[in-house]
């Protein structure tokens, strides 16, 4: 799980081009969207694409998105539960 969290931190930084953020600065329990990282709904959609491509995880409703992107911890948990084997 910790490995997945660290991996997701780096993927978030590269996917969203967060050039001034270091992985260790991301608090895994903090609010992911609308928090200190300055992420908004467009970033969420960009991460949705990354999750589908890299983990085979599909998030296609706003309700699911709100729960999944609540925090990095929640995101990692969701990816862990739902990732498809072929994408491991």
């Amino acid at each position: 799980m910790n490995e997945l969290i660290e991996e997701l931190k780096i993927k978030i930084i590269t996917t969203l081009n967060l050039i001034d953020v270091k992985p260790e600065e991301i608090d895994i329990h903090a609010q992911l969207v609308g928090g200190d990282l300055g992420l908004d709904s467009i970033d969420v959609l960009e991460l949705v694409m990354m999750l589908e491509e890299d983990y085979g995880v599909i998030i296609d409703t706003k309700e699911l998105g709100m729960a999944v992107f609540a925090s990095l911890a929640a995101l990692a948990e969701h990816v862990h539960q739902n990732r498809s084997e072929k994408n491991d």
Binding site: L16, L18, D20, G38, S41, I42, L45, E46, M49, K62
Partner: protein, 725 residues
């Protein structure tokens, strides 16, 4: 001023309802929804409902958007008897329908991409009908068609044209179909605007064109009068409306004022109503706020019937609204079952026959662009009397300037010139991203960065209250990096995945939208595109639309290693790839300014060299040109070299011009926005009264208190003046 009013003399439409005004009118009466699963190209997932033209479109040599636009133009000009004086077209896709097909197949032959530029739609129409006047392409996303009509309205009011063909066109293509899908803005069940269960829009296609005529009384068969219009910008978000709808309310309010119509006199509102939760809620709030407690007139959106045809949408809405006043009806809000109780509007649920005298037509787009028109019954006689007799160009004073070239920023550019070296090359990334805060620009690629950087430099030292309130942007190619990256991702994943960020960034007006957000500019936000003179045409448009407010004028183009060699004949012929641009911060007020610019001329040259005689006349004649300008900077694009040289010779022969003339592309390089750089340099030279050594001789040349004339030759001939003051 004289007693002319602006009428819709005739119009043409092709839509998912079918071809022609009569067919569209009869389908409208039946209120039959025309959304069907996508058939135009194979889709990676279950095809989403779209508003697709229900019959085969003959392709020939032209891409689908061009053909749709041409069909609508043919109908509008069927009985016109002679070419229009101007053509103004709103489009976002241009040749994308063909381009993406060729890119998918890996085609590398630039000939295949010759209709890519958004400007080629208006050019095809202008060439077909022999137009010799201004040929402008407006790309302000989903408000493009409406913005084109507003610009044409002001062109006619200015007296620079008597008859203008204007409208909007967009065809379905992968970029927009998958783009809106990636933003999760598409309703898989089909759009049903203002319904409580709405989940989004349906992408559509179509075209609507209008022949607008300035006349003292309604011409025979006039459909309606174009009473007024207004453009504003939310300056809030690249892809979402401001939740309060304040920008939209301002646009409606200003449009009513422009038309001289009171809100109580509006009988029908043709809503933008895309069906996305955010748009419909914001629009409902805006309309409610406009009427401020009074009863709201009947209102409806047709996007549940024929989808959202993007740049064509506002023009198609204007066509329906013109029919509504001519025939006396209110169209239904097709698809609505349960009106959303959160939205303070009651859209019409059925076709209703009733007298309609004045209509408000709404249209909003990415970049927070709001465009609103007011149409009236042709026999109303309510039109404001504002047409000027002789379309003279009023100058703007220069209060700030900046450029980006292969040499770097303005200082480096001047330094390089003073050493007798040229400015060719790509803008260094350190200069491009200077002044840009990391958080603000992480989502911006090359062109948006350049434009924002140019804007910030041109407005350096301007404080709150004195910042630009409108943005005018000229670009031949728009954002190539995002366009390439979006399509590359799409094709790599067999059309399963595409980037929402790249989609938002790929629209031609994305850079201007970013500038508006940065400066909180609430006024018109106009992107003119598609030719080497787009910068000059952006200034020309500013001359038509800008009042007293300060504004930012930017011209810029990026070089993209994947797309530029395919699209841009200049880029592939140049010895060194070049990009960059220039920006001016302009005002009507002189203040401490020492130079001014005036948009003088833009004309379409396909019909021969008579355009040069017209150019000389509009510049005030040969004697004035000799007296007023100490230097001509002449734009001779490589791919139009023969035609452009001939035009230049005709100009020189017609004026006996005695002072130096320099081809600016020789030192700026073959960049589509080279004229923007040349204009900024001209401002710097005029302010010093000197031209540096090496440009027109071995020693610095004294301008003798004269100005500089910047001419652009090729398919479009343009002129702007930079003069001391």
């Amino acid at each position: 001023m004289n007693g002319l009013r602006i009428f819709i003399t005739s119009m043409g439409i092709v839509s998912p309802f079918g071809e022609g005004i009569e067919k569209n009118l009869s389908t409208l009466r039946e209120a039959v929804p025309a959304l069907t699963p996508l058939q135009l190209f194979p889709s990676a997932h279950v095809p989403l409902p779209v508003g697709e033209i229900p019959f085969p479109i003959p392709h020939g040599n032209l891409p689908r958007t061009h053909v749709l636009a041409m069909m609508a133009a043919e109908e509008a000009l069927k009985e016109a008897g002679g070419p229009p004086d101007a053509v103004v077209v709103g489009t976002t896709t241009g040749g994308m329908t063909a381009t993406e097909e060729y890119l998918k197949q890996g085609e590398k032959d630039p000939v295949l991409y010759r209709h890519h530029a958004a400007g080629s739609v208006a050019e095809a129409i202008a060439a077909r009908f022999g137009c010799r006047g201004p040929v402008l392409t407006v790309s302000t996303a989903c408000s493009s068609g409406t913005a084109a009509l507003k610009i044409a309205l002001e062109l006619l009011r200015s007296g620079k044209a008597r008859r203008a063909l204007a409208g909007g066109a967009d065809a379905l293509c992968r970029l927009t179909y998958y783009g809106f899908h990636s933003l999760q803005l598409v309703d898989p069940g089909g759009a049903h605007p203002f319904d409580s269960g709405r989940k989004g829009m349906s992408v559509g296609e179509g075209a609507a064109m209008f022949l607008l005529t300035a006349a003292a009384a309604p011409p025979d068969g006039a459909v309606a009068e174009l009473l007024g219009g207004a453009l504003t910008c939310d300056a809030h978000h690249p892809a979402a409306p401001h939740p309060s709808g304040e920008g939209a309310r301002q646009a409606m309010k200003k449009a009513l004022a422009d038309a001289g119509v009171l809100r109580e006199e509006i009988d029908y509102i043709h809503l933008h109503g895309t069906g996305t939760p955010e748009n419909d809620l914001a629009e409902g709030r805006a309309v409610r706020a406009l009427f401020d407690g009074r009863s709201v007139p009947p209102a409806s959106s047709l996007k549940g019937a024929w989808g959202h045809s993007l740049a064509a949408a506002g023009a198609m809405g204007a066509a329906v609204s013109a029919l509504a006043v001519r025939e006396g009806f209110i169209p239904p809000n097709v698809g609505i079952q349960t009106p959303d109780p959160e939205i303070p509007l009651s859209p019409m649920d059925a076709f209703q026959t009733t007298d309609v005298r004045q209509v408000l037509v709404n249209s909003f787009g990415f970049g927070g662009n709001n465009a609103v028109l007011v149409l009236g019954h042709a026999g109303n006689g309510k039109g404001p009397v504002r047409v000027r007799e002789n379309g003279e160009s009023i100058p703007f004073y220069v209060h700030g300037r900046s450029c980006l070239t292969g040499a770097g920023d303005t200082d480096r550019t001047l330094d390089m010139l003073s050493r007798g070296e040229n400015l060719k090359g790509m803008v260094p990334s350190s200069d491009m991203s200077k002044h840009l805060p990391a958080k603000a620009v992480r989502r911006l690629k090359r062109l948006s960065r350049m434009v924002l950087s140019l804007g910030i430099s041109a407005c350096a030292g301007k404080r709150e209250g004195n910042l630009p309130r409108a943005i005018f942007f000229g670009t031949r190619w728009g954002a190539l990096s995002e366009t390439h990256d979006f399509l590359a991702k799409l094709f790599e994943t067999d059309e399963r995945l595409s980037s929402p960020t790249d989609f938002i960034g790929s629209v031609h007006n994305a850079p201007a939208g970013q500038a508006a957000i940065h400066f909180h500019a609430p006024g018109p936000n106009i992107t003119i595109t598609g030719c080497n003179g787009s910068f000059e045409q952006a200034l020309f448009s500013a001359g038509l639309l800008c009042g007293e407010d300060p504004f930012l004028l930017v011209g810029a183009d990026e070089y993209n290693e994947h797309l530029s060699p395919l699209f841009d004949p200049e880029a592939s012929s140049a010895e060194r790839t070049t990009d960059g641009g220039g920006a001016l911060y302009l005002k009507r007020e002189k203040g401490g300014a020492t130079s001014r610019v005036a948009p003088v001329f833009t004309g379409f040259a396909d019909a021969g060299e008579s355009v040069i005689r017209k150019l000389i006349a509009e510049l005030g004649g040969a004697a004035r040109i000799r007296e007023r300008f100490g230097l001509i900077l002449s734009g001779i694009p490589a791919s139009f070299r023969e035609q452009a040289k001939r035009q230049e010779e005709t100009f020189l022969a017609g004026t006996d011009y005695p002072h130096p003339l320099v081809d600016y592309r020789r030192f700026v390089g073959e960049c589509a926005s080279a004229s923007a750089v040349a204009t900024v340099l001209a401002v710097l030279f005029v302010e010093k009264g000197m031209v540096p050594a090496g440009l027109c001789g071995r020693t610095p040349a004294d301008l003798g208190g004269r100005g500089i004339l910047i001419l652009g030759f090729g398919r479009h001939v343009t002129a702007l003046e930079v003069t001391p003051c």
